[in-house]
Assembly symmetry: C2
């Protein structure tokens, strides 16, 4: 069985590494000649378009998946016409568009924050009433790690933003929009106590398994630390998280790993967004769970049975963002380096360290130790 992955970054790389022991071969497709997945699998270089190179790629592999949710729909369409693509096009259709995604959650009965569509001056000015101030304005498509987002905390800021994005005397300049997108979603600000994410997997027969939800901590808008299982999570909330994930998996007739982010608030859980792929907040599972998220994703898309997702112990993923780590951490028991083979650049994810421990106290001590070894 040969798997073709759209995207040759660290996620595609780790899919290949996890799938090799199962006897599966991998090819990665990426416009970048130096995509880090190319160090561990065959790399096909071409833009993400239906080119001759893409057609050859589709011919060469048996089943297809992707490592990022912004796969152009026409590309997904082309592949689906010729070979199995997991997760399917529906997952992309919803996850690429914040309004469709939010509405889908509403339809499934998953709690969302108040939101409204903004595509002109009137709808933006009206958003203050619709969702209440403060709110966050996000482009409906593209944008990540806070890009293409505006925070509105007062009527004055709202007026100012309206002048910027939708001036009364005409069109907004190209440079005031993010990536040319001028459709937005206004989302009521969520007062959350912490962010939780749940990684789930569905196989081709419809069986679902769930990883322990993780508690995520960000630094400068980028995931810094995930701890699983999230401490002090009530059985009721755990059941809700799994039930919400199952609804989405079934609605999308999903195959593979799905990740969903939630805010925990004093009033309960509120969904943030989902990603139709393996996820940074699930990297702890590589050693922290009996079967890691990458292996289970590959099992699912290749028609193999899913593996046990039980935690081996309490577990953390410490992201290496723009920084290296002293290799001395490798001497610490059950501290596992995952280095992506990328050049170190500011704000770039270059690796992560998985940390397992017998209990949270011991885990926190190990996290502190790793924190002290960042260079």
């Amino acid at each position: 069985m040969k798997v073709g992955v759209l995207g040759g970054g660290q996620l595609g790389r780790m899919m290949a590494i996890a799938g090799y022991p199962l006897g599966i071969e991998f090819g990665l497709f990426d416009p970048a000649k130096d995509a880090c997945g190319g160090q561990v699998a065959k790399l096909h270089n071409s833009p993400f378009e239906v080119t001759e190179e893409l057609k050859k790629f589709v011919d060469e592999y048996d089943v297809f998946t992707y490592e990022f949710e912004n796969v152009p729909l026409e590309l997904a369409e082309y592949i689906s016409q010729h070979k199995p693509l997991y997760p399917g096009k529906d997952a992309l259709y919803y996850s690429q568009h914040r309004l469709r995604e939010k509405q889908l959650f509403v339809d499934l009965g998953v709690p969302v924050t108040k939101f409204s569509k903004v595509d002109d001056r009137a709808s933006l000015l009206n958003a203050g009433q619709e969702v209440g101030i403060p709110f966050i304005l996000k482009t409906t498509t593209l944008g990540y790690d806070g890009k293409g987002q505006y925070r509105v905390t007062s009527e004055a800021e709202l007026a100012e933003l309206a002048d910027k994005l939708f001036p009364e005397d005409g069109e907004a300049c190209e440079h005031t929009t993010y990536a040319g997108v001028s459709e937005y979603i206004a989302e009521a600000f969520v007062n959350f106590t912490r962010e939780l994410s749940i990684i789930s997997v569905r196989d081709q027969a419809g069986n679902c398994v769930f990883y322990s939800p993780a508690e995520n901590e960000h630094r400068d808008g980028i995931l810094h630390l995930s701890v699983a299982p999230a401490a002090n999570l009530s059985d009721e909330k755990l059941a809700n998280l799994q039930s919400y994930a199952r609804k989405l998996l079934e609605k999308l007739d999903y195959v593979g790993v799905l990740s969903i982010e939630f805010f925990e608030t004093d009033e309960g859980l509120v969904v943030n967004e989902f990603a139709p792929r393996v996820h940074n907040s699930g990297h702890w599972s590589m050693e922290g769970s009996i079967t890691g998220q990458f292996e289970n994703h590959i099992r699912a898309i290749c028609g193999l049975p899913l593996g046990d997702t039980t935690n081996r112990s309490v577990s953390a993923m410490y992201n290496l963002v723009g920084h290296d780590v002293n290799r001395s951490v490798m001497t610490e028991s059950d501290v596992h380096l995952h280095w992506y083979g990328k050049e170190i650049k500011d704000k770039r994810k270059v690796g992560h360290v998985n940390i397992l421990a017998e209990n949270y106290d011991s885990l926190n001590k190990k996290i502190e130790y790793v924190d002290g070894q960042i260079i």
Copy 2:
């Protein structure tokens, strides 16, 4: 860091898979165009000789290792003159020659069975007195899984074998010798209760770590099952195994993973042989130990600190020899398939299944289950 491996079989393959998460790149060198390691790493095809292709291979990588002990010494010599080769030439010099190997163990004070050199009719006939009947005659070089070996259980068999290998009227025919080797070692038959092996690792600074010794079971002369830790092993024997391994590691100024096989007898431990490489009887460590043998081998040769070798739980490696296994085993908790991507052929190692369990009872039940899924 780029590692070049001599040999592109399953051991080279699993070294690459284990080294990738550390950000290390791999190239494998093998005469076979379809060597299974080529599915996961760059494969360089050429005979094991100092060819132009080999010289290019040596130029391209930073540090070298091998997956088999019969690397020609002149090849090892060439590489060592240009780049680091771990383990070094000494390890090959001894492990390629059963007489040198046995004498080395004698010199180190590691208990061996009685042995004598046989290279003509007189020395063969004399072996009956020297080591006692029954004995096993083995070529001093080459041969594995019982190839190039003769079992002598009576004076009559001895006379017959002498006529075959060293006829009075001249030279033995080429076809009565194994691979053209006509130097032998006679080894007294060892009445053993079980076979044990110990995997150890030494880093470039001289630090040594040891895996739990495994108990090995063979079928038709090929390793079938390894269980680690070996049950009912006395503290004294454990200490002896580690002490013997340490002596050999230090004598050879060894860097990397070393495996040594022992017979356990009513009179104590007797060494069988060593292999200067990762070993089939250590495959259980991939999930069964906190740091697997492949990762620790790569750490050692790349100058990285060694990882914890503690067992996660009791653990077994079930070899897939000439047979496939039903993929339903993958649903069993902590049962891990390792498939080498090779065509299934009689007596060929095509994969293994690692099995972890809380205790030996539960382990044995899982082994029985896997046994029932062989197809």
